[in-house]
C-alpha cells in the first residue's frame, strides 16, 4: 500500500462546464492530489476518476461527448478503479433523464433519472440530512449528517442506492456499486460533513491502489 508514499492522484474530469473548481479544491482539502483535467494520459494514470456536473443533463452529456470524455468516463468506471460522481455527475452515470428525453446517459447504472415529485419547491436547494440505507464507503461515520443539495431531478430508486434524504418522500442521495459511487448532493459544498465524506473516498482510493503502484 502506497498511501504514505504520495497522496492518491484523482482526475477530476474537466469538460468545460460551470464551477468544477470547487470539487477539485474539496478533494485537495481531503488529502488527494486532485487535478482538473481533460488529458487522457493523466486520466489513465490516475488512481481514481471524479465526474462532477452542474447544469442541465443534456448540456453536460453534449460536452462530455464533444470533449471525448464520455467514453473515458465509462471505461474508467469499468476499470475497477474508484470512481466518484457528484450531483449531475451522478445523474450522468445513469441510463437517461426526464430532463433531456432522447439523450442517453453514460449507462454505468441502468436506471432512469426522474423529476422530483410535485408539491415542494424545485429545485430542492437546501441542506438535508442523509440516512444510510445500506453499507456505504462514503457515508461511513456520517449517517444522519446534513449535506447541501441543489437539484430538480434524482436517480430513480434502485438496489444500489445506499443513502436517501427526505424531500416529499425518499430521494436518492448516494449510490454505490463496488468502486463506483456517486452523491446527488455537493460534498464539496457541505462543510465539515462534506469534507469527511471526501476523506472517506480518498482513503478508499488510497487503500485500493495496488501494491507497489507508487
Amino acid at each position: 500500500m502506497s498511501s504514505e508514499a504520495r497522496p492518491p492522484l484523482l482526475a477530476v474530469l474537466d469538460y468545460g462546464i460551470g464551477n468544477l473548481r470547487s470539487a477539485q479544491k474539496g478533494l485537495q482539502k481531503a488529502g488527494a492530489d486532485a487535478q482538473l483535467t481533460a488529458d487522457l494520459d493523466l486520466i489513465a494514470a490516475a488512481d481514481a476518476v471524479v465526474l462532477p456536473g452542474v447544469g442541465a443533463f443534456g448540456r453536460c452529456m453534449e460536452e462530455l461527448h464533444s470533449t471525448g470524455l464520455a467514453s473515458v468516463a465509462i471505461e474508467a468506471a469499468d476499470s475497477g478503479r474508484p470512481f466518484l460522481g457528484i450531483c449531475v455527475g451522478m445523474q450522468l452515470m445513469c441510463a437517461g433523464s426526464e430532463e433531456s428525453p432522447g439523450m442517453p446517459g453514460l449507462g454505468i447504472f441502468d436506471v432512469p433519472v426522474e423529476l422530483l415529485p410535485p408539491g415542494l419547491k424545485r429545485p430542492q436547494m437546501q441542506w438535508n440530512p442523509v440516512t444510510a440505507t445500506g453499507p456505504s464507503v462514503l457515508l461511513d461515520g456520517l449517517d444522519g449528517d446534513w449535506f447541501y443539495f441543489v437539484h430538480s431531478y434524482a436517480v430513480a430508486p434502485n438496489p444500489d442506492i445506499v443513502g436517501v434524504c427526505d424531500y416529499g418522500g425518499p430521494v436518492s442521495a448516494v449510490i454505490e456499486r463496488g468502486n463506483v459511487m456517486a452523491t446527488q448532493f455537493h460534498p464539496e459544498k457541505s462543510g465539515a460533513a462534506g469534507l469527511r465524506l471526501l476523506q472517506n473516498f480518498v482513503a478508499h482510493v488510497a487503500s485500493s491502489v495496488p501494491e507497489g503502484a507508487a
Binding site: 460551470g18 464551477n19 479544491k25 415542494l120 459544498k189 457541505s190 462534506g194 469534507l195
Partner: protein, 259 residues
C-alpha cells in the same frame, strides 16, 4: 423532515473589501470578505451572498479574486451579485469558484439574459434578485408591489409578482426578494410582499431587507414562506452569531441545519 430554511449572511463588497450600506450613505468597513466568509462557514451559515458594489470599472476584477480566494477557504455555497450583465460575466465568476450568480437591473433591461445564463450554466446558477417597494400612486402596478432598479432608485412600473413569475418561466432557479422600503430599517421583512411573491413561484425564495433581530428571521420563514433568509448588519458587527440565529429559529419551530 422535508424542508429546511437556510440562513444567509450577505456581504457588500467594494473593491475587494466588505462594507455595509446603512441607508446607502454611511459605509463602514467591516473587514476582509474571505475572512468573514470563513467565519460564517464555521458559525454554521448555510450559504453566503457577496454583493459587489464596486463602481469603478478598473477595479471590477477585484471580485474575481475574492471569489477565487473564498472558493479555496470555504466549503459552503456562495452567490455573487452586482455588475453581472452578460453570460461572459457570469462565466468568469463561476469558473473562479462561485456557485450562483444573481442578476437584477440587467435582467429587467434584458430579460433574455436570464434564459441565456440558465441555458449555459443551469437554473441552479441563475438567481434573479428583485428589489421592490410598495407603490400606491396612480402609476402603481396591480399588486401594489413595484420592481425598482439601480439599487432601489429607479421605478420600473413592473409588477413584482408578475416579474417573479416571468423570471421563473425564463429559467431562474431562485428568486431573491429585497424590500427596499425595509432595507436598512431593522423593522423586519416586508412579510406581506414576501408571501405574495412566494405564492406565485415554484422555485426557492430568499427574503431580504430589514432584519434587525432574530425573530425577524423566523418570521420570514413562518409568516412569509421564504425558503431562505438573508441578513447583513446583525451578523457583521457581532450582534448575533449565525449559530444564535439558527438556535432561535429552531426554538420558534423552523427546521434549520444544526450547527
Amino acid at each position: 423532515m422535508t424542508t429546511a430554511a437556510r440562513v444567509i449572511p450577505c456581504l457588500d463588497v467594494d473593491a475587494g473589501r466588505v462594507v455595509k450600506g446603512v441607508n446607502f450613505v454611511d459605509l463602514v468597513d467591516a473587514g476582509d470578505p474571505v475572512e468573514l466568509a470563513a467565519r460564517y462557514d464555521l458559525e454554521g451559515a448555510d450559504e453566503l451572498v457577496f454583493l459587489d458594489i464596486t463602481a469603478s470599472s478598473d477595479q471590477r476584477d477585484t471580485i474575481v479574486d475574492v471569489v477565487r480566494r473564498t472558493a479555496e477557504e470555504v466549503m459552503i455555497p456562495f452567490m455573487i451579485g452586482g455588475g453581472i450583465r452578460s453570460v461572459d460575466d457570469a462565466r468568469r465568476l463561476l469558473r473562479a469558484g462561485a456557485d450562483k450568480t444573481s442578476i437584477n437591473t440587467a435582467a429587467v433591461k434584458r430579460p433574455e439574459l436570464i434564459a441565456e445564463i440558465s441555458a449555459e450554466f443551469g437554473a441552479q446558477c441563475t438567481v434573479v434578485s428583485i428589489d421592490a417597494r410598495r407603490s400606491t400612486d396612480a402609476h402603481a402596478p396591480k399588486s401594489g408591489f413595484e420592481v425598482y432598479t439601480h439599487g432601489g432608485r429607479t421605478r420600473t412600473g413592473i409588477d413584482a409578482l408578475e416579474w417573479a413569475a416571468e423570471c421563473e418561466r425564463l429559467g431562474a432557479g431562485e428568486i431573491m426578494l429585497t424590500s427596499m422600503d425595509r432595507d436598512g430599517t431593522r423593522d423586519g421583512f416586508d412579510i406581506e410582499m414576501t408571501k405574495a411573491v412566494n405564492a406565485v413561484i415554484g422555485v426557492p425564495l430568499i427574503a431580504s431587507g430589514g432584519v434587525g433581530g432574530l425573530d425577524h428571521l423566523a418570521e420570514g420563514v413562518l409568516d412569509g414562506g421564504a425558503d431562505a433568509v438573508l441578513a447583513a448588519s446583525i451578523f457583521h458587527f457581532g450582534e448575533y452569531s449565525v449559530a444564535e440565529a439558527k438556535a432561535h429559529m429552531a426554538s420558534r419551530g423552523v427546521t434549520v441545519r444544526p450547527v
